[in-house]
């Protein structure tokens, strides 16, 4: 007689999530290393530094139900001249595919890319966080559909690509995976827009992977606009080659409970990375941005700027790690994280982490958390502005540094969401 051990709660969750994903449709078999990692890795707890302020025990109880068919709201970026692909709960909705053949560009779902160009897709895939982070392993063990953008060496994608992912009503689960393969000297712009129904709940555990070649130029705007009670974990992994330029902007417009892990690896000399982000939780919302950049080669440059406000009883977390490897001489890395607290019970946990193993580098980091400048408020009010108008102007000014970097349509939309939230308009 052998004893059957009771499976752990997180193993049960993993089974529940992968079963639900499989029932709706996954792409491919699942990454074997991720499946192994999922069994081996511990479930994150607040005793681990990376999860200190991010309680994931509550996620253990998520029990996805069958996804009801709801109506898909009009996309916010409907007016943008772009190549748009739509996904609902990890499933491709059948928009037009751009396919220029084996030597040309491809913009379509990952499921189709894997059928038509398995070699190209697999060559470009990386494990990202899949073997080191439990939730990333879970995602990679049962990956669902997402966009796949392939721009071969020397090509330029004329129109931006919009990958829209929608979570419908009810307690759902989705594990979409988006992939960008930008060849040497290629140029492309992407937008990943995650939205949801106002009563969406459950888990969105998604991955974004981009591989940017030597001398390539890639910019990505990520908008997270999920009202409702969804738990969203994003694994955003970027690798860039020599002399390449990467820009990633993340705007968290709406989020109930959100954790973003963003990791950029500079895998060549003279690489240039810009990554900015903004967030404005209110109510009892929770928003956590963990970022990391690896300067692994000489002469790279990085510029990180995250700005946010925490209102009411919300919590915001920022953790930014700069890792400068031994050979990464003469790099310049700048990190800045600025926060405003708008509520007496709002909380902000911010931590910069610098690990430097090269001796000839320029690194700086600045991290501040504060409240409105009283002197500035008085100045504005003495000119006749109401307290609300004065707050409005100061918040706009505070966020402009990040928001102004987005394209106009996104900047205006996110600004309006924030404005409504703070009762400006």
């Amino acid at each position: 007689m052998s004893e059957v051990a009771t499976p752990s709660k997180h193993a049960v969750l993993a089974t529940r999530i992968t079963d639900a994903c499989s029932a709706h449709g996954v792409v491919g078999e699942g990454n074997p290393q991720a499946i192994a990692a999922l069994e081996a890795l511990p479930y994150p707890t607040t005793r681990q530094e990376r999860w200190k302020y991010t309680r994931v025990t509550r996620l253990l109880d998520i029990a996805p139900q069958a996804t009801p068919a709801g109506t898909l709201p009009e996309p916010v970026l409907a007016g943008l001249d772009a190549h748009t692909l739509t996904f609902v709960a990890g499933q491709y909705m059948g928009d037009d595919i751009l396919d220029e053949g084996p030597e040309g560009c491809f913009v379509g779902p990952r499921s189709v890319a894997l059928e038509r160009y398995p070699q190209r897709v697999l060559e470009g895939s990386t494990d990202g966080f899949a073997t080191t982070e439990w939730f990333a392993a879970l995602q990679s063990a049962a990956p669902q559909d997402g966009g796949c953008v392939i721009v071969p060496a020397g090509h330029r994608l004329e129109r931006p690509v919009v990958l829209r992912h929608h979570m419908p009503s009810g307690i759902g689960v989705a594990q979409p995976e988006h992939l960008f393969l930008i060849g040497d000297g290629a140029t492309a712009e992407g937008i990943i827009w995650s939205d949801s129904a106002t009563d969406a709940a459950g888990l969105l555990n998604g991955a974004i992977t981009a591989k940017v070649g030597d001398m390539a130029d890639f910019s990505l705007e990520i908008v997270q606009d999920e009202p409702g009670e969804l738990h969203h974990i994003g694994h955003h992994h970027f690798t860039q080659g020599a002399n390449s330029k990467l820009t990633v902007r993340t705007a968290t417009a709406n989020a109930h409970w959100l954790r973003n892990d963003l990791h950029i690896v500079q895998d060549g000399v003279h690489a240039d990375s810009t990554f900015h982000g903004c967030y404005l939780p209110n109510g009892q919302q929770f928003v956590d941005h963990h970022t990391r950049i690896d300067h692994a080669h000489p002469d790279g440059r990085s510029n990180e700027l995250y700005k946010g406000l925490a209102a009411d009883r919300s919590t915001a977390v920022f953790n930014g790690k700069i890792m400068v490897h031994k050979d990464a001489q003469r790099i310049e890395a700048y990190q800045s994280n600025r926060n405003l607290l708008l509520g007496e019970q709002a909380a902000m946990y911010a931590k910069p982490e610098l690990e430097i193993y090269a001796d000839d580098v320029r690194c700086s980091h600045g991290c501040t958390t504060g409240q409105f400048d009283r002197e500035a408020l008085f100045y504005l009010r003495s000119r006749g502005m109401t307290e609300t108008a004065a707050h409005n102007l100061l918040v706009q000014a505070f966020l402009a540094e990040v928001l102004d970097g987005f394209r106009e349509e996104i900047r205006d939309y996110v600004h309006d969401v924030y404005a409504r939230r703070l009762g400006w308009s």
Binding site: D373, E375, A376, F378, Y379, L380, R381, S382, R383, G384, M385, T386, E387, A389, L393, L394, Q396, A397, F398, A400, E401
Partner: protein
């Protein structure tokens, strides 16, 4: 227009104004002079509605309205303007956006329609010319990176834009070279009119060569201890403040 009676005010435990009485008629220019620490800037701050000060006794009425019942915003809407001694830098807010927001906020509270874009720009142009503020400064963030003189010119520019009924100038001459002093004074003088009053607070007489007051008051120890015509400023410049302060002390003894 403005009537201050027996005003007592303190910040924390320190009493700064100790029974200040002053009255300004419509269209008049009054200068307040006095030694450092006499309470000049406190008076300016209290008039504009800064909340750090506590008024413990006395009253201020403005056009018959109890000013102490109004907050800073409401005072600006009522027509009071303070030119700050130390104008505040506000990164990320352009001077123009700042003024448009202020102007329309005031108009809204007065139940007036917002100013049209065309009228606003015409006004900006006219007012900027008044203090020789060039286009670059209009578009830059409010006071950010401005020199001392540029900040003071910007204050007078804002004053011209907002057209207050009572303008309080708090040491607007401090930190100005002779050219900036001339420009700022010219801006103020061209705004003088029969329905606008000025309270000019200064430590030095030289500003009053340019902005000639109708009345001069000496503020010392938290009270107005002496008042006179414009010639009083010259006398103070020559003899200092001690003779008045001493005479006052003798009188009280």
């Amino acid at each position: 227009m403005l009537k201050i009676e027996n005003l007592h005010a303190r910040i924390g435990d320190t009493e700064i104004l100790k029974g200040l009485t002053l009255s300004l008629g419509t269209g008049e220019v009054h200068a307040i002079m006095g030694p450092n620490g006499s309470g000049k800037s406190t008076l300016a701050s209290i008039l504009a509605g800064r909340e750090d000060y506590e008024v413990t006794a006395g009253s201020i009425t403005f056009d018959g309205v109890d000013l102490l019942e109004l907050d800073a915003t409401e005072r600006a809407v009522a027509g009071i303007f303070l030119a700050f001694q130390y104008p505040v830098e506000i990164p990320g807010v352009s001077n123009i956006n700042f003024l448009r927001t202020a102007l329309n906020s005031i108009r809204e509270q007065r139940e007036e329609a917002p100013i049209s874009g065309k009228d606003f720009l015409a006004k900006v142009k006219a007012c900027a010319q008044l203090v020789e503020l060039d286009g670059k400064l209009r578009d830059r963030s409010v006071n950010e990176g401005f020199s001392g003189g540029e900040k003071k010119r910007n204050e007078v520019f804002q004053m011209a834009m907002l057209e207050p009924r009572l303008a309080v100038l708090d040491e607007t001459d401090s930190g100005l070279d002779i050219d900036a002093l001339r420009i700022v004074s010219h801006g103020v003088n061209s705004m003088r009119s029969a329905d606008r009053s000025f309270l000019v607070i200064t430590h030095y007489q030289r500003l009053l060569d340019h902005i000639v007051p109708d009345h001069v008051h000496v503020l010392a120890g938290g009270r107005i201890v002496h008042s006179g015509g414009k010639e009083l400023a010259l006398e103070l410049e020559e003899k200092g403040y001690d003779w008045i302060v001493d005479a006052q002390a003798t009188e009280q003894a």
